[in-house]
């Protein structure tokens, strides 16, 4: 079944674009036909996270305004031939696209693709309204911080009142060392506050920054974040994947440091 998924958060800087890029790439790795759309008009970013910034000729506003055919604005990914990107416009004003136009676009795309993934801008203004207009499902990205969780709660309310019922959350940038010290809310704490399903948690991993630097999404690589994003993607397709017990991993690691300190001592 085809789905239009909006990746949203309310607050900026929690990792919407990174999550969008990784979900899109992850779904393509699972042999799904995917199109990613950057809906942040004026602040184009998904292209550079995907490493496709040099290939963009036409963008979202061009499609909506009829300056090009839809096919011309679909930029094919470097590695996955079943993954495409529609970049957002850099210069045009934010009101260049309306929610009705976005709905028409996603309705057209869903005929041809298994998944349409929309990267939503921060905030709850028109950019948000555009991004959710055609969505059948939402992934809410949050971090274990008071501001991000408060905004996520507001976004959940707005999505529900707009009739989007399938809501899942990703808790990003988990610092396991801080959770263990009691200085950061745990996954359970966040789940206790926000009333929606958890689809995955992603540790705050240096490798995410490195992969973004290189313009290659981390999903599927042999890193903690890469595995976490892969599992999230699998869960999106309906596959049941057990949650990684981060604490267990830490315990395992501790055992090793324990051995070393014994040897050292």
């Amino acid at each position: 079944m085809s789905e239009v998924i909006v990746v949203t958060s309310g607050k900026g800087g929690v990792g919407k674009t990174t999550t969008s890029a990784n979900i899109g790439t992850g779904l393509a790795k699972l042999q799904k036909k995917v199109v990613l759309i950057d809906t942040d008009i004026g602040l184009r970013n998904l292209d550079v996270v995907m490493g496709l910034e040099n290939r963009i000729v036409y963008n979202l506003v061009d499609v909506v305004e009829g300056n090009c055919r839809l096919k011309q604005a679909l930029i094919r990914d470097k590695e996955h031939s079943n993954l495409y990107l529609i970049a957002s416009a850099q210069t045009k004003d934010k009101t260049a696209v309306s929610p009705e136009q976005m709905k028409k676009l996603t309705d057209e795309l869903i005929e041809e693709f298994d998944y349409v993934v929309l990267d939503c801008p921060a905030g709850i203004e028109q950019g948000f309204q555009n991004a959710i207009a055609g969505a059948t499902r939402a992934i809410i990205v949050t971090t274990p911080e008071v501001s991000a969780i408060r905004d996520a709660d507001r976004i959940i309310g707005l999505l529900e009142s707009n009739g989007i019922k399938k809501l899942d959350m990703v808790i990003n940038k988990m610092r396991l060392d801080m959770v263990r010290r009691g200085e950061m809310m745990s996954i359970e704490d966040v789940m206790d506050i926000l009333p929606i399903n958890l689809i995955g948690a992603v540790p705050d991993d240096d490798q995410v920054v490195i992969s973004t630097n290189q313009g290659e999404p981390i999903v599927g690589t042999d890193t903690l974040a890469g595995q976490a994003f892969l599992h999230i993607t699998q869960r999106i397709t309906g596959e049941e994947v057990p949650f990684i017990d981060f604490n267990k991993r830490v315990g395992f690691f501790k055992k090793f440091t324990g051995i070393f300190s014994k040897i050292g001592g």
């Binding site: 969780i149 408060r150 709660d153 507001r154 009691g182 200085e183 950061m184 009333p195």
Partner: protein, 91 residues
């Protein structure tokens, strides 16, 4: 041990969770903190007519539990009022 337990309460992760719960639940029902303060004041005034209470340690909050049972998902007004003595008021 008593000292440790006291310190545990102050871990910032717990502080964050408790602050967020109070804030988010009152925002969900569109009830600003000052309205909640007024409600608290008036409730305490009413209760004080009938019993001696510890106003310093009283609180009125909006709470909500993420339970599947729909009755518990509804936000609830929760008053926590320690009673010192109950006076029998004769008219």
């Amino acid at each position: 041990m008593g000292f440790l337990r006291f310190k545990r309460k102050l871990y910032s992760g717990n502080v964050a969770k408790e602050r967020l719960k109070l804030l988010i639940y009152s925002e969900r029902v569109n009830c600003p903190p000052d309205v909640l303060n007024h409600i608290q004041l008036e409730i305490l005034q009413v209760v004080q007519k009938y019993m001696e209470i510890d106003t310093q340690n009283s609180s009125v909050q909006i709470i909500q539990e993420n339970k599947s049972n729909s009755m518990y998902r509804m936000p609830r007004l929760y008053a926590n009022i320690p009673i010192k003595t109950i006076q029998t008021i004769k008219e």
